[in-house]
């Protein structure tokens, strides 16, 4: 006797605990095995690019905060670099160091969130997430000292940063940089060697090297596939050419590699922060620019290595006070290009972990 079976379509999301926002996946399941995937975007689409066309160059900084709200500083940095490139100016030295420190702290914070939710998706009942929230809170305190906000910082401006670091910032940062490696060790002790985690993630969601490059993946997802491509090394901006750090690279590009790459990147970010603290010069923190910027006609594309990947802003200026076009190269969005290739053939539980290990953010995917 043969059993009559029938594939079913399940909508994962837009409201689902593990889709990291309002992401929807239409999945064709045969039993528990995924046969086909169709991602559906747009539930958080706010038209940032259109809004940017109606705002002045300084005002757009506030929009960039809201792209990847877990990594607002990196977004600010990328946008400001882009405007600076468009105008042909450079930020003062001190501002560059401040920005580098902020971007690296932001990377740690974003990776903490990414790892925490990845482990939460694996079913480690919120414990690693809670620990990671605790450390993220400290980073947010640092950001609050400098910028006055905890999520949407609006800290950077074209040509520098909004305000110099307050006096209490450096001691607090030093304390954080001393404490944090211990906490990272603790995360590693907690789960890195856990047999269940390893069986769940090893060999799951493998992204071969060539496919990852072809699919324009970037950030930890690309590096986990064994491509040592990091814009901080490949195309150094700010002060990355003056600091020493290593580039963690995965071996085969599975979930476990993505997990380890993020863990290791946090250590390297701390290294960068420490070196920046030593090298930090005195001086102005902001170039002398008017509040209303009028860049010359032309276009510019500047990118940074954000926590999620290559974050770029392509600005076209027509000489007025607002950009003619502001296109955003959103890493989270483009990292989803290969979702189907990664998911087909795996089970529903693996689907959750693969999606979690990509660490995307819907604010950035839908923009």
């Amino acid at each position: 006797m043969t059993l009559k079976t029938e594939p079913i379509i399940v909508n994962i999301g837009p409201q689902h605990p593990s889709t990291h926002g309002v992401f929807r996946l239409r999945i064709l399941f045969d039993g528990e095995v995924i046969h086909d995937v169709e991602p559906v975007f747009g539930y958080l689409h706010r038209g940032s690019e259109k809004l940017a066309e109606e705002r002045t160059y300084t005002q757009i900084v506030t929009l960039t905060d809201r792209l990847d709200y877990l990594a607002a500083m990196s977004n600010n940095l990328s946008y400001c670099l882009s405007v600076e490139k468009l105008m042909g100016i450079e930020a003062p030295e001190r501002a560059k160091y401040i920005r580098t420190i902020m971007a690296e702290l932001m990377r740690i914070s974003s990776h903490l969130m990414g790892l925490g939710f990845f482990l939460q998706d694996l079913g480690a009942f919120a414990t690693p997430l809670m620990y990671m929230f605790r450390e993220r809170e400290k980073i947010m305190d640092l950001f609050e000292m400098a910028s006055g906000a905890r999520i949407t910082y609006t800290y950077m401006r074209p040509g520098g940063v909004n305000d110099d670091l307050p006096p209490e910032f450096m001691p607090a940062l030093r304390k954080f940089a001393d404490e944090m490696p211990g906490y990272i060790d603790e995360y590693e002790r907690l789960l890195r060697e856990n047999e269940i985690l390893i069986t769940r993630t090893k060999g799951v969601g493998v992204l071969p090297r060539d496919l990852a490059i072809n699919g324009s993946l970037s950030g930890p997802a690309l590096r986990a596939s064994g491509v040592p491509w990091d814009l901080r090394k490949a195309d150094p901006y700010e002060v990355y050419s003056r600091v020493q750090f290593d580039l963690p690279v995965g071996q085969i590009g599975d979930n476990y590699d993505r997990f380890l790459v993020r863990l290791e990147e946090m250590r390297q970010s701390l290294r960068i922060v420490r070196q920046c603290m030593q090298q930090m010069p005195a001086g102005p923190f902001r170039a002398d620019l008017p509040m209303l910027l009028r860049p010359p006609k032309g276009d510019a594309y500047a990118h940074v290595e954000g926590p999620k990947g290559e974050l770029g802003f392509y600005l076209v200026s027509d000489g007025s006070i607002s950009p003619y076009r502001c296109a955003i190269r959103a890493p989270s969005f483009i990292n989803l290009s290969l979702l189907k290739e990664m998911l087909v053939g795996w089970k529903i539980a693996d689907m959750i972990t693969i999606v979690g290990s990509l660490d995307f953010n819907m604010g950035e995917v839908d923009r």
Binding site: I8, V10, H16, P17, S18, E32, L119, Q120, D121, L122, G123, A124, F125, A126, T127, M130, Y131, R134, L190, L191, R192, E193, N194, E195, I196, L197, I198, T199, R200, K202, R209, G226, V227, P228, W229, D230, K233, A234, D235, P236, D246, L247, P248, V249, G250, Q251, I252, Y256, D257, L260, V261, L263, E264, K347, I348, A349, D350, I352
Partner: protein, 429 residues
Amino acid sequence: MAVSALATGCQPPGFFDGQNLWHEWVVNFFPRIGDSICRGMGGHADGGPPNWLIYLVLGFLGSLIVVNIAALGVPFVVLLERKLLGRFQNRIGPNRVGPFGLLQPVADALKLMTKEDITPAAADKIVFALAPLAFAIPIILMFAPIPWADHASLANLDIGILWVIAVTTAAEAGIFMAGWSSNNKYSLFGAMRAVALLVSYEIPLVLSLLGVVLLAGTLNLSEIVLDQRFAPNILWQPLGFFVFIIAVSAELNRAPFDQLEAESELVSGFHTEYSGMKWAMVQLGEYAALIGFSAIIATLFLSGWKGPLWIPGYIWLVTKMAFILCAFIWVRATIPRMRIDQIMAFGWKFLLPLSIINIFATAAEVIAFPDALPYWLIPINIAFAGACVVGMAKLLGFQPKTRKIVIPGRPVIGDDTPGRIVPLMRGGN
């Protein structure tokens, strides 16, 4: 079933002649209650009420007590879990309602009672409504044969273990009914996983118990406790305990085997669509099963209500249960969830052979030492269990290795003079 309900406590009157010590009364609380009621109603004397009435009243009272242990214990276990999870996660846990959050269960219960009871439009209404009952009632039945103290079980069944296994297995039908009738695909996945888990974990569960049964020579829980005179069974049966506790956590849908509710995958699986009191029933069943099984574990492996001091047996039992509950919560706070096929493989390939090995080893020991096992067998047993687990893991390749992350030395792209061609590291090291 023979309703010996607490009537085992109806001793001959001479039993407590002259010994009216307070602590005697406390120690024998359950038997005394039965006894007093029995005597208060006229006992077995002529002219008193007929025996069947006494049995009925006693049975009713006894089951009232036991159902209340389950129903009132559950909220406090939930509170214990939330508090402990909080502490494991470096936070406080519920502490807003009452002192130390002790009234949180009351608040939760009130909230659940006042919540709207939603039945999905496309659900099978009758089955949907019956499923929580079909889930919770068998689990409460499971409390019947548990001996809370000497001669104090609601039903002193000769097939106590079988009864426990049978009724908890029946509860899975409730899970399946809930998942199927919700007409929700997540619930369906949960229900299917529940059945798969049931099939693969019930067998090691039962087989690992056989070792204890072989040692005691009986299925009666009270007698199994009495049999653990010299040392708790965990010392004689480390392998059986290992298999049993894993199988029980699968049976209880506790982490890391909570696939059927897997909130990050299936949005709480089979009870996704439940709300209000129906949801409360499902929770009641789950946590009652947790309490019940920790009592069973304590009874079978940790010598139940027996303790070295004069402390009453039921307090000993509850202490042991609390210890086991804390261990379950601790594991839940730490360990990620396994995948369903990995669980299946683990159950069939790892636990089942181990439990069979355990049966044969125990049988050999019992044949060799028919009266009582000598103490020098304890370290041998523990070593044997460890060797079996490690050997089995090695045999099956269940030894996942961690992996080092590669930090390429020099040749990182771009980390050199501009424009030079940098050789790539092919796929890392």
